[in-house]
Amino acid sequence: MYEFDWSSIPGAMPFLIDGMVLTLKLLLLAVAIGIVWGTLLALARLSRFKLLSAAAGAYVNLFRSVPLILVIFWFYFLVPFILAAITGNAGVSVGAFYSALVAFALFEAAYYCEIMRAGIQSVPRGQLSAAYAVGMTYGQAMRLVILPQAFRNMLPLLLTQSIILFQDTSLVYVISLSDFLGAASKVGTRDGRLAEMYLLAAGVYFAMSFAASSFVKRLQTRYAI
């Protein structure tokens, strides 16, 4: 039977905490950008302009059909390439973190779009007519009347999707970023203690996701209409 040896964890704590900070930074930025971009996509999908709604639909279907890992790889080489094309300087580099951030934000926006679309459609049509009747423009009606309600109705789903994103950030392992899992993996490889480090990672991810989803469940019952 295997002898567990947890002694490499205390010394590696600062490195692991740095990893968790990177994970959370990636998560928060990707959620913020993803929700804004997803909401714009949802508005585009519901637009009267056929071309705009078709383009948004194609975007969502494309991103929902391919694995996240493939998208991470796509942007890992695409971001430097586009930067070089824009700046005309092939030497510009933003690092793996920002290409991962772009990948997550654009990928998750497709999922947030579908949630926000359902949220906007759940607001009764009369609200929009009422907003127009008091003289609001489309932009004002959306910003002041429809979106706040859609956002509130969909808050549990948006949070649940963000918990999934929290778990998915571990995939940056494939581009060798030292997020929490990457850090645990590097420590484990260095000390020959991969089994212990992966069990630790599983425990930490479990505790955080479980706490977050319990919170969402409570929120859901409190805000239930």
Partner: protein
């Protein structure tokens, strides 16, 4: 954009000879499909059993199923894969652990990916099946029991035939997820589609061509799955339901 497009790259011979890059892509596609389909068998059967367990009046059984779902849903797939690959062989009795370590690498990578993805997806299937049974309302179960059917008979003849048809649309998206999630198998060294694509870009530097073709292949898998599942949905349509769903 100074990039040299060269679509003929796929028909060039690979450095080790005896094959073209197309063969590599097809081999990768084959592994992706093999992992996904075999994992789906576990996911569907285990998930259905767990889903039924969660709806049973027995506290212990439903508790076990709930614990399973919470564990498998709250740990990232990649971490689960590493635990199957690095930790589980150590925890098994020595003879079995050694046998696994002595397997040829591709077999042990495939076995890991298949078990990991299957048990991971089972938790999701479980939740869908439970929701499907829950959506039928208490009346159906009570009616079955009132007719004199036993609880297993009520499930077998009343609840499950309806529940499975109701949950086909959400199960379709879980089935699609199995194909997409199978890409994580590259982290334990299995040369499925995404890994082969990476390998091709490393050998040829024709990054765009390789990634575009792979993206199209994933889109095609999605389309085929959707078409097949629509057909299944139509065949199992419940008369009198709007759209059968």
């Amino acid at each position: 954009m100074n990039y040299n497009w060269d679509w003929s790259v796929f028909f060039r011979e690979v450095p080790s000879g005896g094959a073209t890059y197309v063969d590599w892509l097809l081999a990768g596609l084959g592994w992706t499909i093999a992992v996904a389909l075999s994992a789906w068998i576990i996911a569907f059967s285990l998930g259905s059993i767990l889903g039924v367990m969660r709806t049973l009046p027995n506290r212990v059984l439903s508790g076990i199923a709930t614990a399973y779902v919470e564990i498998f849903r709250n740990i990232p797939l990649l971490v689960q894969l590493f635990i199957w690959f690095y930790v589980v062989p150590e925890l098994l009795p020595r003879e079995i652990g050694d046998a696994i370590k002595q397997m040829d690498p591709t077999s042990s990578q495939f076995l890991t990916a298949f078990l990991c993805l299957g048990t991971f997806t089972a938790a999701r299937v479980c939740e869908q099946v439970r929701a499907g049974i829950g959506s039928l309302g208490r009346g159906q179960k009570n009616a079955g029991l009132a007719m004199g059917l036993s609880l297993p008979q009520t499930y077998r003849y009343v609840l499950l035939p309806m529940a499975f048809r109701v949950v086909i649309p959400p199960l379709t998206s879980e089935f699609l997820n199995v194909f997409k999630n199978s890409a994580v198998a590259l982290t334990v060294g299995l040369f499925e589609l995404t890994a082969q694509t990476r390998q091709i870009t490393e050998y040829t530097a024709q990054t765009f061509e390789a990634f575009i073709v792979t993206t199209i292949l994933y889109l095609m898998i999605t389309m085929i799955v959707i078409i097949v599942m629509r057909w299944v949905e139509k065949r199992t349509l419940v008369p009198g339901y709007i759209g059968g769903a």
